[in-house]
């Protein structure tokens, strides 16, 4: 059951090959058997999952057609609120915090009959690109445990890669789904801003955050995205009227125009990564797509604008953690200002504090116009640039990250280098666009490479169709880190 996709697993359950409880127990055993080798799970909600499994089995037995993913185990990044399950954002600040409500996305998983197995490790408050900044330690890459899994949804991507969970929800603010997927050789979707309700997602940067699926292939991810997407009365910024319904079975890319940003392939980009991405483009060309190179405008502004806006919003979003109502409170504090100062100094990690300081600074009187306002301006220029590009192309194809997974500890003390690792992903969030990240090869160290397909707002269908066709014709996504088996089609590099 670990080798089949989530959709196949749900079918097998429907056909009585496995019971939901059997599947749930097998996955719990697998997670426990790994004994935290990859440090993927923060919380395993086994008892709750088994109760849920029984209830879902009853619904299936009574003949209810729940969903295409009924009975399938799923996990959530630990910044998505889950009723009665501790939700920490991998921060000392929220240790012991148990939400009194479910995020809308979490609710919808349960409505679809999926079994929530637990909460995944991440960078603290989703701030980081390597899942090294969390208070609960670094997530390890199953392909090489000396290397990072990427971040911030590193636990979700590594968990899927390690076969501990067939599907997981991550969140993507500047690449946090796509980059760990690329590092761990799994598939993930960053949906259009407004496609999935953010209600219950503990905010890092509200205007950029989006919850999205991580799984073994595009079809599984599409099925999970259908479950969680669509309007929600609790989120005024969630504008997608109806949940996605991905039915297209087209086998051809005929007439699809793909743009490739020439200037992304510069000296900062690792050669192996560049080659693998170009090969992926050629593969899509074989199935009928038309390729064209162009220069991506404003490339130099994206990372700067992103960090100003994201940190500004974060400084405000994280100010509610004051040591008063829930979460960490310093024992040293005697006065109200000390409760604030000590609790926040001790409760937050270094990277979070760095971003709060940066964000407070760019919003301060006298600096607002010089930084924040300019960043907003850059953001609208980037958005306009994408708008005009999508007049010419259906899809933009690009690398996800300049490198494959690096060694744990290698970059953590060089924040600027880390931030520059987001160069290919952040502009997508600034423009609120959808993108899918999928495996396309390996580098000289046998570490996975991914590429991304970016589309116009709410063009998820186009992206998923292209990804599905790509995965029908390639086997990269089927490679397993522990079998060392390299599928035939990988040879066409």
């Amino acid at each position: 059951m670990f080798d089949i996709t989530a959709l196949e697993l749900s079918k097998a359950i429907k056909n009585k090959k496995y019971s939901v409880t059997e599947v749930t127990e097998a996955y719990i055993e697998k997670i426990r058997g790994n004994n935290n080798k990859y440090n993927t799970f923060i919380t395993i909600s086994a008892d709750r999952a088994l109760r849920q499994a029984e209830a879902v089995q009853k619904r299936i037995d009574s003949g209810e057609n729940i969903s295409a993913l009924a009975g399938v185990p799923v996990s959530l990044k630990d910044n998505i609120s889950t009723l009665d399950i501790e939700t920490t954002c991998a921060s000392k600040m929220l240790k012991g915090y148990v939400p009194v409500y479910n995020a809308t996305a979490a609710d919808r998983l349960e409505q679809a009959g999926m079994i929530v197995l637990g909460k995944m490790n991440m960078d603290e408050f989703a701030m980081g690109g390597s899942s090294e900044t969390g208070a609960l330690g670094t997530v390890k890459n199953p392909w090489d445990i000396n290397r990072v899994a990427g971040g911030s949804s590193g636990g979700s991507a590594a968990g899927v890669a390690a076969g501990e969970i067939p599907l997981s929800l991550g969140s993507d603010t500047g690449g946090s789904i796509r980059q760990p997927c690329s590092f761990c050789s799994v598939t993930g979707i960053k949906p259009t801003y407004g496609a999935v309700s953010r209600y219950g997602l503990i905010a890092y940067a509200s205007s950029l955050d989006q919850i999205g699926p991580i799984g073994k292939n595009a079809d599984d991810c599409a099925a999970l995205l259908s479950v969680i997407s669509g309007k929600d009365g609790m989120d005024g910024t969630c504008t997608l009227e109806k949940p996605f319904d991905f039915k297209s079975e087209t086998q051809t890319q005929k007439g699809i125009r793909i743009g490739i940003p020439r200037n992304y392939f510069n000296k900062e980009l690792d050669d192996d990564v560049g080659n693998a991405v170009i090969n992926a483009a050629k593969e899509l060309e074989k199935t009928g797509a038309e390729l064209e190179e162009f220069d991506m405008p404003l490339m130099d502004y994206a990372v700067e604008a992103y960090y100003i806006i994201a940190c500004a919003e974060a400084s405000s979003n994280l100010s509610r953690y004051d040591g008063i109502k829930y979460g960490y409170r310093s024992q040293k504090a005697q006065t109200l200002p000390e409760v604030y100062r000590f609790s926040r100094s001790e409760g937050f990690g270094l990277e979070v504090k760095r971003r709060i300081m940066l964000g407070s600074f760019v919003l301060s009187s006298g600096y607002y116009d010089a930084f924040y306002k300019k960043a907003l301006h850059a953001r609208s220029l980037i958005k306009n640039a994408y708008d005009s590009l999508f007049g010419r192309y259906d899809i933009i194809l690009s690398p996800v990250a300049p490198t494959t997974a690096y060694k744990i500890g290698e970059n953590i003390s060089d924040p600027l280098k880390m931030y520059m690792g987001d160069i290919y992903t952040v502009s997508v969030n600034l423009a609120g666009l959808p993108a899918i990240s999928l495996p396309c090869g390996f580098d000289r160290n046998k570490m996975p490479v991914g590429f991304q397909l970016i589309g116009a707002a709410f063009s998820e269908n186009t992206l998923i169709n292209a990804a599905r066709i790509y995965q029908l014709n390639t086997e990269w996504h089927k490679n397993k880190f522990n079998t060392k088996q390299v599928y035939k089609k990988c040879g066409n590099r």
Binding site: S81, Y97, I202, A203, G236, S316, I324, K325, S364
Partner: protein, 479 residues
């Protein structure tokens, strides 16, 4: 000669039934922390969603204050950390408020004057901290978190405390008549801050101070006088005014410095990313325009012109919307505005006074009261019985007919019964009868009262008068 230049910032709680960003009730006085949910208590991950009624109320006020309505206004976050603010930011409007450039006319000291309004913006209220002196603890009540507010900001157009008071009275009347705010200062549903500086008449504007904690209109007047005097004394003794926020202590009739400009918070305002801009269409504006309520001034005019109510009475009736509403219902049901006005300005006001009932809590059964007006008018009961029954309806909501029957209040127009009562009174009060015959007119009134008393108050005064005159002049009264 120094003169003050004054501007006002008024916070008014909107009378919506639910909070600004969630479905929690806005009821006042509930048990602490019972009207809260994840959204208004700022739990991690929650998002605001605007209560549409809030926009409608704000636009209604904007129209009544002759403002331009912004078709596309944006919410901003005002960041500051304090235990009564669970998100550590307040959602407000800084850069593009919903209404701008309004005006309101006032009449003060016999002069009419236009006060211009800079803006009206929408924001959320914070919770309440309660300091328990016994335990030394500070307790938090989040029930008030997320109550919708509008802040009305005037330009510095006021020159006297009288103008400020007149403006606030006019504004309060508009807020109440348009059902925007109940204006209960004692519950904090309307609060005003004063910005004040002084200058030589017609000269350059001086440095201003902001005065907070003004809990009544009277306190506002006193604070204006006090601050004008304080600033004048400083300047005349060669000192300089510091730009600062001051706190008024109405018991000490003095203000105290809270914080200076140097220590002012940097609120790091920025556009609220969790909310879409507030779009107000022409259709919405027209819809609100077409359903604007009649204000106090308009009612007074109509009462005087159409219903011939005395100016004084019209003012009493419109002093509170609730009273005007009762008056209009009574007038309609009784068919007699003038008798309704008499009832309200007379008996009803007296009864409210006796029973310490505030106008906002006035509740009467207009069906029963209008029925009594008709009974009295048609001579079925006399003035005494009318007042008695009105009081019983007011206090205990009795059934008028039952009450009248039970207490024998139906007007006694039975000639025989009256003449029997007259004869008894004259025989019991022969001295008074003689006094009258000897030309003491006053004695007649006494005898009238005695007969009425004999008839347990229900006698028809005309028949008593007739019978008494007749019997006295016939000499039959002497026994």
């Amino acid at each position: 000669m120094w003169e003050p230049v004054i501007g006002l910032e008024i916070h008014a709680e909107l009378s919506t039934s639910t909070k600004i960003f969630c479905g929690c009730s806005t009821e006042f006085g509930a048990e602490p922390n019972t009207l809260v949910c994840p959204v208004c208590s700022g739990m991690p991950g929650v998002l605001p969603r605007l209560n549409e009624a809030v926009a409608v109320y704000a636009v209604r006020l904007g129209l009544l204050l002759n403002c331009s309505i912004n078709p596309n206004s944006v919410f901003d976050r005002k960041n500051y950390i304090y235990p009564d603010l669970p998100k550590s930011y307040q959602i407000s409007q800084l850069y593009t408020p919903v209404c701008t450039d309004g005006k309101l006319e006032i009449t003060s000291g016999g002069k009419t004057k236009i006060i211009t309004i800079r803006e009206i913006h929408i924001e959320e209220d914070a919770g309440k901290l309660i300091h328990d002196p016994l335990s030394g603890n500070t307790l938090m009540d989040f029930n008030r978190c997320g109550i919708p507010l509008v802040e009305i900001v005037t330009n510095p157009d006021f020159e006297t405390a009288g103008e400020v008071a007149e403006f606030l009275e006019n504004l309060k009347e508009i807020l109440m008549y348009a059902d925007i705010c109940d204006c209960k200062m004692q519950e904090g549903s309307i609060r005003a801050d004063i910005n004040l500086s002084i200058r030589q008449k017609g000269g350059e504007l001086g440095v201003r101070t902001e005065m907070k904690n003004l809990n009544s209109f009277k306190a506002i007047g006193r604070a204006v006088e006090s601050e004008t005097k304080r600033q004048t004394e400083i300047i005349e003794s060669g000192g300089k005014i510091t730009q600062e926020t001051r706190r008024w202590d109405d018991n000490k009739q003095k203000s105290f410095s809270m914080r200076s400009k140097e220590n002012a918070n940097d609120y790091r305002y920025f556009p609220e990313p969790d909310m879409q801009p507030l779009i107000i269409s022409d259709d919405m504006i027209n819809g609100i325009k077409n359903t604007l309520p009649e204000l106090g001034t308009q009612k007074r005019e109509r009462y005087e012109k159409d219903w011939h109510i005395a100016k004084n009475d019209a003012e009493i009736i419109t002093s509170h919307k609730n009273i005007a509403t009762v008056f209009e219902e009574l007038s309609e049901k009784s068919g007699s505005p003038s008798e309704s006005a008499n009832l309200i300005t007379g008996e009803i006001m007296r009864l409210m006074n006796t029973h310490s009932i505030r106008p906002e809590n006035l509740k009467v059964n207009c069906d029963k009261l209008s029925y009594l007006i008709k009974l009295e008018h048609s001579g079925k009961i006399n003035g005494n019985s009318y007042k008695k029954t009105v009081a019983a309806v007011f206090k205990d909501n009795v059934e008028p007919d039952d009450y009248i029957m039970k207490h024998g209040l139906l007007m006694n127009s039975d000639n025989d019964a009256v003449s029997r009562a007259v004869k008894k009174v004259l025989s019991d009060n022969s001295v008074a009868a003689d006094d009258y015959r000897n030309g003491k007119e006053k004695a007649f009134g006494f005898l009238m009262g005695a007969v009425m008393k004999e008839l347990r108050g229900s006698g028809n005064p005309e028949i008593i008068r007739k019978s008494l005159t007749e019997i006295l002049s016939n000499g039959d009264g002497r026994i």
